[in-house]
């Protein structure tokens, strides 16, 4: 993948008032997800009610940015023409340390990807906006203190 991802003509998110905090945080390089103040569960994607207990007491918090790779695929034939210049590229299912799973763009590390790899948030400009992409944590890399 040699193309500058930021120049891709890809489809951006369809933002609503409810989901705007997620995308505003993404633009600043943060990953914000909802947390339920009643059952304590983290929620992704954003909703007006907690999908676990249906409480409306959802608050936004920054996620740790840590997760692990549940599955991935190297895309050779993208479903959207805007991604053709980037192919092959990798998307994956990222289980966040907070619990929920999200689909994301996975940046290349120095080694081949494997399911179970630890991942770290890697905000990346794609198609003219910063998205919460992820990259593998290199083996032996020290976790920096927060």
């Amino acid at each position: 993948m040699l193309v500058d991802l930021n120049t891709l003509k890809t489809a951006g998110p369809t933002i609503t008032a409810l989901t705007r905090p997620f995308w505003d945080a993404a633009a600043e390089g943060r990953l914000a997800i909802q947390h339920c103040e009643d059952c304590g569960k983290a929620v992704f994607y954003p909703r007006p009610i907690c999908p676990n207990c249906w409480s409306r007491r959802l608050v936004w918090k920054d996620a740790s940015g840590r997760g692990w790779l549940k599955s991935f695929s190297e895309i050779h034939k993208p479903g959207h023409p805007g991604w053709l210049p980037a192919a092959p590229y990798v998307v994956g299912l990222v289980e966040l340390a907070e619990g929920p799973t999200m689909l994301s763009f996975i940046l290349a590390g120095t080694r081949p990807l494997h399911i179970g790899d630890m991942l770290r948030l890697a905000p990346t400009a794609i198609g003219g906006r910063v998205l919460p992409a992820f990259k593998p944590v290199e083996p032996g890399a020290e976790e920096k203190p927060k």
Partner: protein
């Protein structure tokens, strides 16, 4: 007074507004559903049936799955009721009928709509469009590639194991002159040599889109006795809807068909091993692999060995998709799932011609939608 057919136990209502601003129908459905379930004094987990209206534009397809995922529900009966102004009333008796049929116990019937001053440029506003597509994941191929990769990593299943499914479908299609791949067999090597679409998924492991159509007529067992063809009986059914987006799947290596098939076997008093025909939904090779395992025909992760141990042709010990499956026949969009019903009826009537199976008493038919997330199973029996 006649015996009650069902009871309405909770209601919810949103205050009408002339216009909404930046609110999706899904958000409103969540709000009003919560009110009705609170009114009923039920826990959300008690809701196991879901009837919804069509949402033209915003969520063009897979409407019940999208709403179930949004609400955190996993219903064992889910459907769209599309009767215009009669949809609400139409939901009530369908809910009662589904409960009477033993498919579920508590049905949420919900309709809502936003009213934006200017329609968004892209009408599709579902969570996949907002949270998957911008990251480069459009279309079903990627979802099933992610499921396949997870199976390989968890169980060590191989590309060759999966390719056997596509090769068997092509082989069976050689006895179906109507199949799109009639006259075009493909062996395991050909499947593995076909282009990589989304790793680990090869081109020949994906159905070919085609035009087509399928139809069936259902009547009562009593009425069926006086008609010209031998009836094929519905002996049991099961359904389960767990999610819409692959990222929200509760499991990657087992799907909702596991529960749907269990209910169908339980209702019919049959076991997977007793099926004379396996008519299994096969949009991708991984779908058949997971279904064989979820049916209990082999242990989880062992589908490859199971395939090697059995003959899947009409002459074999485990006939599977004798019409060629959709991998061999082609997928006429939503009618593709019905091909598995129609072939089962042909076999159970003894009308399958040169691909007729010798013993045709029981058939398992499965249907699957979205990202291994919408599942229906039927056990059919010969007259």
């Amino acid at each position: 007074m006649n015996q009650s057919k069902g009871a309405i136990v909770g209601i919810g209502e949103l205050k009408p507004q002339r216009l909404t601003s930046g609110v999706t129908t899904l958000e409103m459905i969540a709000e009003v559903s919560r009110l009705a379930v609170l009114d009923a004094g039920l826990e959300p987990t008690a809701i196991d049936g879901l009837l919804v209206g069509p949402q033209v534009g915003e969520t063009p397809q897979h409407v019940p799955a999208t709403i179930a995922e949004y609400l955190g529900l996993a219903p064992t009966m889910a459907n769209v009721v599309d009767l215009g102004g009669a949809s609400g009333a139409g939901m009530i008796w369908r809910a009662a009928a589904a409960i009477e049929a033993g498919m579920c116990e508590a049905v949420l019937c919900v309709l809502a709509n936003n009213r934006e001053e200017t329609a968004p440029r892209s009408p599709n506003r579902n969570p996949i469009r907002e949270f998957d597509v911008p990251f480069g994941a459009s279309g079903a191929n990627i979802s099933y590639a992610l499921l396949m990769q997870a199976h390989m990593a968890k169980y060590g299943s191989t590309a060759r194991d999966f390719a056997m499914i596509a090769a068997a479908a092509r082989a069976n299609a050689q006895l179906n002159p109507d199949a799109i791949f009639f006259g075009k067999p493909a062996d395991v090597e050909a499947v593995l040599a076909s282009p990589m679409i989304a790793s680990p998924l090869h081109l020949l492991e994906i159905v070919m889109p085609v035009a087509g159509g399928e139809a069936v007529v259902v009547t009562s067992a009593e009425r069926a006795r006086s008609l010209r063809k031998p009836p094929v009986h519905l002996l049991g059914a099961g359904e389960k809807v767990t999610h819409r987006a692959v990222s929200q799947a509760p499991h990657l290596t087992s799907g909702p068909l596991k529960s749907a098939m269990a209910r169908a076997f339980q209702q019919s008093g049959t076991r997977a091993e007793e099926m004379d025909l396996l008519s299994l939904y096969d949009c991708y090779t991984i779908m058949v692999a997971t279904t064989i395992e979820d049916a209990g025909l082999c242990a989880p992760g062992q589908f490859g060995a199971w395939l090697s141990d059995h003959d899947l042709s009409h002459k074999g010990d485990k006939p599977l998709n004798t019409h060629g499956g959709q991998l061999g026949f082609g997928q006429p969009e939503l009618a593709g799932g019905m091909t598995h019903v129609v072939e089962a009826v042909r076999q159970l009537r003894g009308e399958a011609g040169e691909r007729q199976i010798a013993k045709a008493g029981l058939a398992l038919v499965t249907g699957n939608g979205a990202t291994m997330s919408e599942a229906t199973a039927l056990v059919l029996g010969a007259a």
